[in-house]
């Protein structure tokens, strides 16, 4: 069960003096280093794969479990559909409910990914405008660093239906959560400027690029104070990366991908929808005969497809519990290690982290040496390809436009991830690659278009 500070809660004994909290014994069955390597032996061994954040990873034992589900369907699909599928999806939803501390399994729907969840939430906003429940010009707020798909979804579903979108300008690099909170308040004020209602706030839990952990609990509280109709937390990177307690966070909608940081195969995500009158307005955009039976049931059947990634969740939990401390232990170690590696890189290159350690999760942004001459987003893509092709390092790079008057501005930040399969050598290779480029007086301008 997730608790905000990430510590295990220990049951209290009755009456007598409590014995010291038992130290969780290192189980002889804890997964070993070589077992971990074996579980991820299908990864391209030549690549320093320090980008778990983009596409996640899936251990071999889960791949096998998924293939077994796929075969079960292919073996006798009718029987599978009538007798196995619904129960399997329900079991996965119940596991997730427990993981995220939702009250009721009816609040948990399984969808392909956060992108799909955004379509679900934003579509009902669009109907609000179409059906005249919202006025033209009513507002939806999102972060400037919202994921590209979410921005486009806002365009497709909100702007097109007559809503106005307000972006929260977030500083980057950032040094405290207060900076974020201040900007957020400003954006809400802008939203309410013309006496309009803010119908929805979309808040990332962990932004994608640049990656920063957002103080969602505080922001949700502010939304309630400021009379925002609905709050949607886009936590694509949430589960397995930061603590997810949906009741604590208090949003109306919360989505997270399990294939990013929770070892599931592509692709499976949950969309949590707090029980309320509005729950019945939510629909999966792909409409099947289950339409009207509730989002969770609708999402569990959107036509003939491969649902095996959704069915494999219980196996994923088993995998995660092979690690010392389970998912909590994994999160803690990933965070500690990525910060350590980030600081190692920053020291070596003479740069900085993009945010303080307590505002990052299993990913961290590190400034790249200014002399690399990263002058545009295109440059970051070219550099990324160069790092992949020449040094076999896989890492995404973010372009940060310099502010006026900045001297030798740091305009490029690499987003490094740490997941259980990573080794120190991965980051050392990256360190050395950049140092080599700097030593060779390399600039992005030298890369062909």
């Amino acid at each position: 069960m997730a608790s905000p500070d990430g510590n295990h809660r220990h049951p209290e004994t009755n009456g007598e003096a409590k014995p010291p909290a038992p130290k969780k014994q290192k189980l002889s069955t804890s997964i070993t280093d070589s077992e971990i390597q074996s579980e991820f032996s299908h990864h391209d061994a030549s690549v320093a794969r320090i980008n778990n954040g983009s596409f996640g990873s899936c251990p071999q034992s889960i791949i096998s479990a998924q293939q077994r589900w796929q075969l079960r369907f292919l073996r006798q699909p009718d029987s599978f559909y009538f007798n196995d599928l619904k129960a399997g999806i329900l079991e996965s939803r119940e596991f997730i409910r427990s993981l995220i501390n939702a009250d009721d399994v009816s609040e948990v729907s399984i969808v392909d990914n956060a992108t799909t969840a955004a379509a679900v939430v934003l579509q009902q906003i669009a109907w609000g405008f179409t059906e005249g429940r919202f006025q033209k010009g009513d507002v939806a707020v999102m972060l400037h660093y919202a994921y590209g798909a979410v921005k486009k979804s806002m365009e497709a579903y909100v702007t097109r239906a007559g809503g106005r979108v307000v972006e929260v300008q977030l500083p980057f690099p950032v040094s405290s959560k207060e900076e974020i909170i201040t900007e957020f308040r400003r954006a809400l004020e802008r939203g309410k400027e013309n006496g309009q209602r803010i119908r929805l706030a979309v808040i990332d839990h962990v932004t994608s690029m640049p990656s920063v952990v957002i103080p969602v609990k505080e922001l949700v509280k502010i939304c309630r104070e400021e009379d925002v109709d609905q709050v949607f937390v886009d936590a694509a990177h949430g589960i397995g990366c930061v603590d997810v307690d949906v009741k604590e966070i208090g949003a109306d909608f919360y989505t997270s991908n399990l294939h990013k940081w929770f070892f599931s195969p592509p692709s499976v995500a949950f969309l949590y929808c707090r029980r309320s009158a509005k729950l019945s307005d939510l629909h999966h955009p792909v409409v099947s005969h289950e339409y009207g039976n509730g989002l969770a049931i609708e999402s569990a059947w959107i036509g003939t497809r491969d649902y095996s990634a959704q069915l494999v969740v219980p196996s994923v939990l088993e995998f995660v519990n092979r690690f010392e401390g389970g998912i909590e232990g994994i999160k803690k170690r990933n965070h500690e290690q990525v910060v350590r590696m980030g600081e190692m890189l920053a020291k070596s290159w003479g740069t900085q982290l993009g945010c303080p350690p307590d505002m990052c999760s299993s990913m961290v942004m590190i400034g790249l040496p200014w002399c690399l001459g990263i002058t545009s987003e295109r440059d970051t893509l070219k550099l990324r390809v160069h790092l992949r092709d020449r040094f076999a390092v896989e890492v995404p790079i973010y372009y940060r436009a310099p502010k006026e008057g900045e001297v030798d501005p740091v305009t490029g930040y690499a987003r490094i991830s740490h997941q259980v399969y990573n080794k120190v050598e991965d980051y050392e290779r990256f360190r050395d690659a950049i140092n080599k480029l700097v030593g060779d007086k390399f600039t992005c301008a030298s890369l062909s278009a």
Binding site: P77, A119, A161, S267, I302, D306
Partner: protein, 455 residues
């Protein structure tokens, strides 16, 4: 690829329904019977699987190619996304364009299934109403037997946006395509009453339950004559069971699932959208950063997912070409066998087929004995489960409510035929599958079994 299939409608020349196709020489590498068995050896033993229509089937070699694609992604996903995925999707789309005789690969998008395609088309209609391009009350016409997901999609997207819906009832059992065309014309007339515009007509190419191959070319022509703005053909079952020539058929939108009759793993379908001069305003409902780049590009990236069923289409084409006559050969074989087996069953039970053989492809509706007393949809469903559990036969059953007193087909016992089984034939089926079904039903009748006995 596309030969004119008279069963799709169009002018009839009175010629035989067996098109003369040059017989492909039997290649020494033609797939053998035992190879076919091996390819489908993962199918559950002891089940007479005569329902390919519902969920399709996927041979082992295509599954293996599918797993290869999945592993390629997992091995190095970033590289896969940047360097491999788009080309792979384009390759699949290009193959499909050739299969269906589309003009331009830009007309071909890959989506999960026909259900998703319906959402795409109907969302566009919804926007037409919401943005006042359509008048409130303008119509969408669909068939009464349209797939339930399509009906619900209309309920979700058309009605709340202000559109009205007309359901056209088609006769069943049916004896000629003229009955279909006449019924459809009547339905269209209703749609246009009071000066309303029919914004969209949704026509099945092969209906699901009860299953009939419709003269879709004729129906599209009627739509054009009657001023229907756009026509969407839901051909979930078509590719791999009838010839699909989208230009001949002439619809604006045409969707078919490749995992039903074209040996792809679940799930992959193509949505054909006839090229137009203006922006066709077709969007995938799941919006990614590719929004606005055209439906084929939008559909090729709807967030991180497993796209391997879409990427494996070339392997399915390879598989199909191992058969004598390729997909044409398979379609002809399936059709001949399912008709033969259907006739065998109705003869054995003293019942009738639901349609003439030229109005079916790889599936046919077979009347069930009246003595089974199938008197509701629930009965049909319960009987199906019963036959699965007690007789090891997988076959969907349709309840056809009798129209009027005294009307309707009767079986050899003089009772009303109210239940029809939809049998499918795919390359893995053998005559034994249908004998098993024949014997199961015969046994039930002899035991005086009725649906009332099933709890």
């Amino acid at each position: 690829m596309a030969g004119d299939d008279p069963r799709n409608g169009g002018s009839s020349h009175g010629h035989s329904n067996h098109r003369h196709v040059a017989k492909k020489p039997k290649l020494s590498q033609s797939i053998s019977e035992s190879e076919i068995r091996a390819e489908f050896s993962h199918h559950a033993e002891g089940v007479a699987r005569i329902n390919n229509g519902s969920f399709g089937s996927c041979p082992a070699s295509v599954q293996s190619a599918h797993r290869d694609w999945q592993l390629r992604f997992l091995r190095q996903p970033d590289e896969f996304y940047f360097n491999i995925l788009k080309d792979g999707i384009l390759r699949s789309r290009t193959l499909i364009k050739a299969l269906i005789n589309a003009d331009d690969v830009e007309e071909v998008s890959l989506v999960d299934n026909a259900t998703t395609a319906a959402a795409i088309v109907l969302q566009q209609v919804s926007r037409g109403f919401a943005e006042s391009r359509f008048k409130p009350g303008d119509t969408v016409v669909m068939l009464h037997c349209a797939f339930q997901a399509v009906k619900k999609s209309i309920q979700a997207y058309v009605t709340p946006a202000g559109g009205s819906v007309i359901e056209v009832e088609l006769p069943f059992p049916v004896s000629s395509k003229e009955e279909i065309i006449d019924a459809f014309k009547l339905g269209l007339d209703r749609g246009k009453r009071d000066g309303r515009t029919v914004r969209l007509a949704i026509i099945d190419h092969i209906t699901s339950m009860p299953s009939v191959l419709l003269p879709v070319k004729d129906l599209v022509r009627v739509c054009r004559e009657e001023g229907v703005e756009r026509v969407f053909v839901d051909a979930a079952h078509a590719i791999g069971s009838v010839n699909v020539d989208v230009k001949e058929i002439g619809a604006d939108f045409y969707v078919s699932n490749l995992h039903k009759w074209f040996f792809c793993p679940p799930s992959v379908a193509f949505l054909y959208c006839r090229k137009v001069d203006f922006s066709n305003d077709m969007h995938h409902p799941v919006v990614s950063h590719e929004y606005g780049n055209g439906l084929p590009i939008e559909s090729a990236w709807i967030g991180t997912r497993d796209y391997s069923s879409q990427l494996v289409v070339p392997s399915a084409v390879e598989f199909v070409e191992r058969f004598e006559g390729g997909v044409e050969g398979i379609m002809r074989w399936n059709h001949e066998e399912v008709v033969k087996m259907g006739k065998m069953l109705v003869e054995s039970w003293g019942t009738n087929l639901g349609s003439p053989q030229e109005m079916c492809a790889s599936m046919i509706m077979v009347g069930l004995p009246s003595r089974l007393l199938i008197s509701s949809t629930e009965d049909a469903s319960k009987l199906r489960s019963y036959i699965r559990e007690h007789h090891g036969v997988e076959v969907p059953i349709h309840y056809q409510a009798p129209k009027e007193e005294g009307e309707g087909p009767r079986d050899k016992d003089g009772g009303r035929i109210t239940g029809y089984a939809r049998i499918s034939h795919q390359v893995y089926n053998t005559a034994e599958d249908y004998y098993k079904f024949r014997d199961a039903v015969t046994e039930l009748v002899e035991k005086n079994f009725t649906c009332r006995l099933i709890l």
